[in-house]
Amino acid sequence: MQSSVLRRTLLGILKKPGPTLCCSRRNNTNYTIGGLWEPEYLEAMKSKVPLYDTLNIQMKGYDYPLLESYQKFVHTIASNMDIDVEECWATPPQNFKINTFKPNSTVLDKEFKLSLYERNVQIVDMPTTLYPILLSALSASVPEGVTVTVHEHDPEHEEVRYIPDLELKDLKDQLTLMGGPRVEKKKRKK
């Protein structure tokens, strides 16, 4: 009993972290993954941990210089943790008009115009193990009045940045009314 415990601890010490996850599952096979002639580093370069595909860190706040410096900070933190930051962009702000009424009447008391500014940082291929660490770094450093949301990237988020082309939309609607685009015949090469 004791010798097996000793053996296990020795093996534990000698065992270096991670030969690949895939290899550990296929313990006793004779063939290598990817074929006999594929170089081994291809498998070794793959991540041993599941990855999140694309995440957006969206920062919203009413004070935009603060927001911009926070975006810079988030970018540096992410790159220090060896996370691929693919893109950073700004979305046009949401403008709000806020009215307060005098008590017990609808007489306008005060009117305020506020803009909610937004900045985004896009992260690609982040390992699941690093994600909680990033979240705790973000929540520890979030500045006054800023709301941070981390979510998966939607094509909608990309669409919001562009001016919608009304003509294009009209034409596309017309085409669908007429019954969809034409089916192209395959051209035979002579």
């Binding site: 599941p50 943790m81 046009p92 702000p93 193990t129 009045g145």
Partner: protein
């Protein structure tokens, strides 16, 4: 006086279809032409120079003030001290993050030795934290028993789908 009603000529359905196809082709060609021109990004209000300022740029230009030699030296020394302080702060942050990552890696290795199942569970994506919202602190805490006045919030962001001027 009504003329005797003309008999409606029967158009060959193939001809009809051909007409439809031609119209579709025209529309598709236009779509392709519009799509080739890359789309424009919406202008970002806080990054645009307001046109009033842009027009008076030349008037607003000033010559740089002359700073004495001692003042410049003082500023340079202050900048060095400040950058040293900020560097130490940044190094602290980076070291803290590194410590967290290393200790997590150690814990994962130990977990793996303990049980492979739990290790795989730990690696899996957690849907509770996706999406995650963090709210920043506020300047002053909320006032106790505050009687908030009536009012409303209206979103007056520019709606790009509605044209500014509706053609009559």
């Amino acid at each position: 006086m009504a003329e005797p009603l003309k008999k409606k000529k029967r158009i060959d359905p193939a001809v009809l279809r051909a007409r439809e196809e031609r119209k579709k082709k025209k529309i598709e060609k236009q779509i392709r032409r519009l799509e080739k021109n890359s789309r424009q990004l919406k202008p970002i209000d806080e990054l645009e120079i307001p046109p009033a300022v842009f027009d008076t740029l030349k008037q607003r230009a000033r010559e740089p003030t002359v700073i004495s030699h001692e003042e410049m030296e003082e500023r340079a020394l202050l900048l060095k001290e400040w950058s040293l302080y900020k560097m130490k702060e940044r190094m602290n942050d980076v070291q803290l993050l590194d410590k967290m990552i290393i200790s997590q890696q150690k814990a994962m290795d130990e977990l793996r030795l303990e049980s492979e199942e739990l290790y795989q569970e730990a690696l899996a994506m957690d849907l509770n934290v996706m999406p995650f919202t963090i709210k920043g602190p506020v300047h002053t805490p909320p006032i106790v028993n505050y009687d908030s006045p009536d009012g409303d919030y209206t979103n007056i962001t520019k709606d790009w789908f509605q044209p500014l001027f509706v053609k009559q």
